[in-house]
Point group: C2
Chain length 439, copies 2
């Protein structure tokens, strides 16, 4: 077998055998297959797709390309949540302590922000001292002691995915469903999960803007996850505006801690609602609750009792962070004191929010990464004070931008103001959760 | 502009602008764009195609990626022939001396064999002492003194093509019409031609097996060649059996010298017929003859007078070879004395010859290259003694294999015997020249 024969077959829309896929993925892992051959295959997969059998074989080969974390000695069920990426999507920071407080182990392998989307690791690093580069032994110890641990993908975990992901980013082959599925499920499978809930974002701030593509992705993720032995469910959720109020690393952590402390601002409610819903599905899939209803009650319990906040506090301490952030978040998170107002350009109803544009704007002033090698400034961000469908008047403050460089903040405020479309009639209401995909 | 933005656009079937194409080709030439990004674009072009405008811009950018040979101080018109590649296709060895003997300058940049096809440079190197690696100054001197020169592509000539061709070979993106066109025309354009005839092979031994694909390629070559200022014509010619009798380097040179000496074996007639026809089109395009008929008469003249043979003799001497090969070719070419017979498996008519299989068989026993780094043994080859449509009886010798290793020769003879399909009725006759494409 030669790499170019596998490429030719996919180029010609023939189905690759599991052996051919394993041969290729092994070559990626060992470096025996050249980067230019990998990227040619990635483009052929992007344009010609993959059958369910190919997608399954690709996922399994990537899953087995490195170490598999084995937490079977920990007595609790293991569950995780994954999001396809959005703007202001900070639910991981709530879900992990909520679910862990209900007795489910959450070994969460997270990523960094790139382009218009944020990443959980960047958000966590806003907390002074917080370490996300844990060794496997440290990760296991935090998981066992606290109930959840959060870290980046190590070089040993699904190394074929790491290599292929970097090439996809450089060759515009990110948005291919079989490649997305294999990337997500291989990493989650290598993390030794029993159950997994996937938040598939849909809307103008999501990678999948069209509902039918997002739905196809959700079905592919669920079927492949289940075939890999992970009980998997996907929720299609709205990404036509930032989730909650805050966009930007410190600001998002602040919003989450306020929620766990019971100090939630009303605009942050969708963050809590979505976090509870995703968490409830995790508890059901992990078999610690029989129904979504009982799961939601239990989650409300650990939220109001302070057990979830306590879980967060213990995790922060275990991962080297300053847990006083849980008591006085605004005092211990790096923040900018004087924000710049974003004003409504005219009077009317907010009919559309260009969510990707907001994400890019915040990234461009340092709140995210335009390029993979960029440094992130945790203080930079945006807080939305108005939501889709709200009535506003011209000149009204619809949000604020945080950035130490005031001229950059002003530029960003103008870009964000332009990202809000104001019309004469309110838009049709968008549901936060559009669909639950079980198979 | 970023490489991945250009890739994305082609991936999404949008037309690339000339600026975007120049940016990408410049990046290929300078090495600023990574190989894995080049190959992703190549696969996207393979699968999504290119418009005429894109193909033109790609060709021009590649043509201008290196030095342009300038022979405008040589007073004669400059013309060349290019073949898309076949088995036993040795017409270049005849056309160059025939056309040069008629007063047209032939600066021929040729290639090496790979896979089932042979290459002119390998054939020439069968002649003891013959050098194909000429400096630009040497090439010009031979061209001026003899009327034609034959050499390989230097690093300075269309370097973007050299880089892209190597990547295409490794990523199964060779057979894309826009890439073939840009590769051929950019090299020929950089060689300073006035006129060019392209022999587009069609049939089971050609890269383009289907007539409609070959015809599309011919039209694309002609229109792009003309747009680049080279008067261009293409002939669609048959490649459903080896051209002439000989396949293999020394044997093909032997066949050509016999033809120029007037010692032609009857089975070699198609080589002469096709060479004369292609040469006649070159003379017409170069404006040294008004009609194909007068051009053919003139070519017959330089053949029977010995002027063409004399031209070959002078070229061989000028390029360091032993010109005695022109007087006693069998004595001065490296040959194997004892060939192994290929026998007909049954009685009947030869209804199909798997020409690609014959090419691969000869390459596999050393007569060509399975991999680009393989060494070629000039003595290895096959001589066909029967043609498509001929009646044969079981056990009759239909050809012979030459290889010093007799066990390899026997294996090859068995493979080649199996490549001849014998049926009960003669097949429909195939025309050697199927079509002349002028626009």
């Amino acid at each position: 077998m030669r790499p170019q024969d596998v490429i030719r077959k996919k180029r010609d829309r023939q189905e690759l055998s599991p052996d051919e896929i394993r041969y290729f993925v092994d070559g990626v892992t060992t470096g025996r297959i050249a980067d230019y051959q990998i990227s040619a295959l990635l483009m052929a997969v992007y344009l010609n797709g993959m059958t369910q059998a190919e997608q399954q074989a690709l996922t399994e080969a990537m899953l087995l390309s490195g170490n598999i974390l084995d937490f079977s000695d920990l007595p609790k069920p293991k569950a995780d949540k994954h999001s396809t990426g959005g703007v202001g999507d900070k639910t991981s920071l709530l879900i992990a302590p909520l679910v862990a407080a209900c007795g489910v182990c959450v070994p969460m392998i997270s990523g960094r922000g790139l382009g218009h989307t944020g990443g959980t690791l960047d958000k966590l690093e806003s907390i002074p001292g917080f370490r996300v580069n844990l060794s496997t032994a440290e990760f296991r110890k935090v998981l066992d002691d606290v109930g959840y641990a959060m870290a980046g993908q190590t070089a040993e975990l699904a190394p074929a995915d790491k290599k292929m992901y970097a090439l996809r980013d450089a060759t515009s082959t990110v948005e291919a469903i079989p490649l997305i599925v294999a990337s997500i499920i291989s990493k989650k499978g290598a993390a030794g999960l029993d159950a997994m809930v996937i938040d598939v974002k849909v809307g103008n701030g999501a990678f999948m803007r069209e509902a039918d593509r997002a739905e196809a992705l959700a079905h592919a993720l669920v079927s492949t996850g289940n075939s890999c032995g992970i009980r998997t469910r996907a929720l299609l959720t709205d990404m036509n505006q930032p989730l909650g109020r805050a966009v930007g690393n410190s600001l998002e952590v602040l919003e989450c801690i306020e929620i766990l402390r019971g100090d939630m601002k009303e605009g942050a409610r969708p963050v809590l609602d979505l976090s509870l819903e995703l968490s409830a599905h995790m508890l059901v899939l992990a078999n610690v609750e029989q129904s979504l209803k009982s799961a939601l009650q239990r989650l409300q319990g650990v939220l109001s009792s302070g057990d979830a906040l306590e879980c967060l506090r213990r995790n922060i301490t275990a991962q080297g962070g300053d847990a006083r952030v849980c008591d006085a978040p605004a005092d211990f998170l790096p923040l900018v004191s004087e924000p710049v107002k974003v004003e409504s350009a005219r009077s009317g109803f907010i009919t559309r929010v260009d969510t990707t544009e907001i994400g890019h704007t915040i990234a461009a002033i340092g709140g995210g990464r335009v390029r993979i090698e960029d440094q992130v400034d945790p203080t930079v961000g945006f807080v939305a004070e108005s939501k889709l469908g709200e009535q506003v008047i011209a000149g009204e403050t619809i949000g604020v931008v945080y950035c130490a460089d005031v001229s950059k903040a002003r530029e960003a405020a103008a870009r964000i103001s332009a990202a809000y479309e104001i019309g004469d009639a309110p838009p049709t209401t968008l549901e936060l959760i559009k669909e639950v995909v079980n198979e």
